[in-house]
Assembly symmetry: C2
Homo-oligomer: 380 residues x 2
């Protein structure tokens, strides 16, 4: 790895002016503050923890003085010392697989944010599934006693030995993106597909095409086609269609190509099926479909409505604003933390699993279909 910095221009930033040698003093303790303040350690502890009942103004003043003194001395509570005494680490573990799903990005946002509100730290750990069951190879997070609880995001195919070894930790655990009766949080894929389909039907669409996930979809490691969400999405679509007396569209059963000519495949599908709306419950398909439509002269959304299932707004970072059913990983993270915090109170409690609804991101790719369909009919 070349350590050369050849980036001549660009200049340095504010860091330079501020990189004065920071003094690495010893950590300040309660005792030191107490000594300076001429009171006992406990008085300081109480003042800083806000445990002092400030009935008299003299007490209140003293508390303020102590707080200021602590501030000036740069006191910061030693969380490890506190943890030994209280038997609470103040840390929650976020365990995920090393072939991380992209969903982890927003899950981290949600979990980290929610934990902050509970004044808890987040210990993040990526590990290979096959390393989890064996005490030798297990990550430090599991080998040590260092967190009050775990949020586990390992997708849907968790080997029983892994489950067992996690349970032997005797820690409260919330499972994310997997489905069981208790202690799970996952996105409501059924509801999302149902709602998306209904929305399109409400607008007048009748030929609505669902593009399901594909086995081993690489973008979504943690939610492969075997994952419950694939089934749930299809079921939501089917139910909505049937309830309105519409026939589900049989899509051509193509093996999707992952090169520049994937667009041509989709063009063929569109031409054959002639949908007025497409639901891409498969990650990353929206762009292809849009471009396939455009390439045969269909405009979005006038001639073709598109709804995508995605973690973010689909079709390239910078790209067009596809109307999206957003996988609610952030909300899932919040919910997971809420549940875990509840379990921290009573470790033995079991909480009913929760499906978190998708949020609908507005976009520019959905509209009512045309009264008469004047679209060019391209031969398949």
């Amino acid at each position: 790895m070349s350590m050369l910095d050849r980036s001549a221009p660009g200049g340095h930033n504010a860091l330079d002016n501020n990189l004065v040698s920071s003094t690495f003093y010893m950590a300040v303790t309660l005792d030191q503050i107490a000594q300076k303040a001429g009171v006992s350690r406990m008085t300081v502890a109480r003042a800083l923890n806000g445990t002092t009942k400030q009935t008299w103004s003299s007490t209140a003043r003293r508390v303020q003085e102590i707080q200021k003194l602590a501030d000036d001395m740069g006191y910061r509570r030693n969380s490890a010392a506190a943890a030994t005494r209280t038997r609470r680490f103040g840390h929650v573990g976020m365990l995920t697989r090393s072939d991380v799903s992209h969903l982890q990005f927003n899950l981290n946002k949600g979990v980290s944010h929610a934990l902050a509100r509970h004044d808890l730290h987040m210990t993040y750990c990526e590990a290979r599934i096959e390393d989890l069951a064996d005490p030798e190879s297990a990550p430090k997070l599991l080998r040590e006693h260092c967190v009050d609880g775990l949020i586990v995001h390992l997708s849907d195919e968790i080997p029983p030995p892994v489950i067992k070894s996690l349970q032997q930790l005797a820690l409260p655990v919330i499972w994310v993106n997997t489905k069981s009766e208790f202690d799970c949080v996952y996105p409501d894929d059924y509801g999302a597909a149902y709602r998306a389909t209904q929305e399109l039907i409400g607008l007048g669409h009748r030929r609505i095409l669902l593009i399901p996930m594909q086995r081993g979809e690489p973008a979504d490691i943690a939610r492969p086609a075997g994952h419950y969400s694939a089934v749930a999405r299809e079921a939501g679509y089917l139910d909505a269609m049937r309830e309105s007396g519409l026939a589900p569209l049989q899509r051509a059963d193509l093996t999707r190509r992952s090169d520049f000519h994937a667009v041509e495949d989709w063009r063929r599908v569109l031409a054959a099926e002639q949908p007025t709306a497409v639901i891409t419950a498969a990650t990353g398909e929206a762009g292809f479909v849009a471009l396939a439509g455009m390439s045969i002269g269909w405009r979005i959304p006038t001639d073709l409505s598109i709804v995508a299932f995605h973690d973010a707004r689909s079709f390239s970072d910078l790209g067009p604003k596809v109307s999206t059913m957003k996988v609610p990983m952030q909300a899932v993270g919040h919910k997971a933390v809420d549940m875990l915090v509840a379990k921290l109170d009573d470790v033995t409690r079991r909480l009913p699993s929760t499906a978190v609804p998708y949020s609908r991101m507005g976009g520019e790719s959905v509209a009512a279909p045309r009264e008469k369909d004047p679209r060019p009919r391209t031969p398949a």
Copy 2:
């Protein structure tokens, strides 16, 4: 938030069969093991820490017995208790902004992996920049004494008060994705642009177009156009072109649209500039350019070569294999950890900043230009 789980099908998974009520026993301590083994606490501690000098076979046997006993009893070291005594938390803080750059995803991978090799925990923390300087609103990570060091990923525009307040923690800090003389790690954008340009020149390309970042590029919050990397990428391109005596291509100075018709803009640019190769140093442009080219009958890579700068392989998750200069955030994470670990030994040490080279991801979008350019000339 609806808590209904309407996902009828999909079934539950292995969790169900394993959700036996885990017993929440008290944490096992060294003392308990010592008592059962009939030895002192210290003997157990030494045995488990591998500090016993096993000169005699009887000792070795005893050590093994103790280890097995500890295992059976489900002993896990209490990291907090250890931390109070050793004055080492065994945790490293990963501090990032709450409007997280997507780059954080791979940075987490690198940092988490490298920390695991050093047997360190990673404490993850997202916070708003404006909250960092104020002790009141600062995240717990900064308010408490709880980590041995920090890796800070706040992009390039760090307010001096934030720098100051971080330095007052008197913790070793490594700065990621920002540039200063010491203690920084960042991707070598200059070198990457230089290499990409050279590669294309070597293949015979002469009309090479660089698409630079745009101000406020939304996909890349932590590396906006003001970021050193934008300047560095352009400089690398310019240097490589000039060294080969080639004129840099003036690109049309268009304001990029973020709707379905962005492709049309790029079509115009391609028609006007007639490049045989494009370097998209802007995130997310590769797909547009490719499609713009295809839409005027150019094939990729025969008629147009494309190199993208990206965190992952560009143009949709599932999509075409664009030849990519990959932002090496994982390697950056590794390097940051290495540097931080070095600083943990000697807290006062300053390490020279490091530019980490991009890796070149093979793809299908680069080839030599045609001898004669037979491409259709579309009017601009």
